[in-house]
Amino acid sequence: MSSIKPRGKVPKEASVDEIIEIKTLIRHPMHSGRMKDADGKTVPRQIINAFNVKFNGKEIFKMKLEPSISTNPYIAFPFKVKETGTFEFEWIDDNGEKYTMSKNMEVI
């Protein structure tokens, strides 16, 4: 599972009351459970089923993903800047594994 790599883009600096856009992408096959491999066998379902974002420990954004979400799920969302802090991103796999990433942002 080393091929699964989360990536994110958060501005390093922002001013108070600014609405910034946070972009994330995780490399994941998102097997919907309907695809067939080269031998004609159905590939079992394995997707990222949840995405959670916390800022300074407080939950700010959540997304529930279904098999209809594309391979390498891309998610972008806004956030209103109030203070300096750390974003914590978490992706939850069907197999129970969690992929995490954190990004710092500074108020100027």
Partner: protein
């Protein structure tokens, strides 16, 4: 002899006709039940309240060349304060094997209600966006996307 042959053909024709008829009925019942599934799902989410159609900004391509990666972007006008904000947004599609695509949960901290992601569409279909306000009101919008090459495999 001739008569039996004729009989055979007509029976075959009859069976063929029947199977075509059954097939078309089957196909139409599938598409019907899928639209129904979305409406049922909306009913489930809104707990029978229903949703009013409103002008939510929903950006979807009119024609998607590749159904595997269809970008969806929406923005809902909301003050996003502690007392009045969009709590949840459901994305539903009526032509996919399952109606649910994604559910977003927003908080007032975000300051604005918007999101972007990419979804799979198996064929030409309607995409529904159902938003739940913190006061329990629902609003929705839909858009039709023409898909040239379907996603979802198969």
């Amino acid at each position: 002899m001739k008569l039996t042959k004729m009989k055979k053909i007509s029976r075959r024709n009859a069976i063929h006709l029947l199977s075509v008829l059954a097939g078309s009925m089957f196909v139409s019942s599938i598409s019907f039940s899928q639209t129904n599934q979305v409406l049922k799902r909306i009913d489930e989410i809104t707990k029978g309240l229903g949703a009013e159609e409103s002008d939510i900004y929903l950006d979807l391509p009119e024609i998607a060349e590749n159904g595997n990666q269809v970008q969806i972007n929406f923005e809902i006008d909301s003050p996003m304060t502690e007392t009045n904000y969009i709590k949840q947004v459901h994305v539903l599609a009526d032509g996919n094997p399952a109606p649910n695509v994604a559910t977003f949960s927003f908080t007032p901290e975000m300051g604005s209600c918007a999101a972007t992601t990419r979804m799979r569409l198996s064929k030409t279909q309607n995409v529904y966006l159902l938003a739940e306000n913190s006061d329990g009101q629902f609003s929705m919008t839909k858009a039709k996307v023409k898909v040239t090459i379907g996603g979802c495999g198969g």
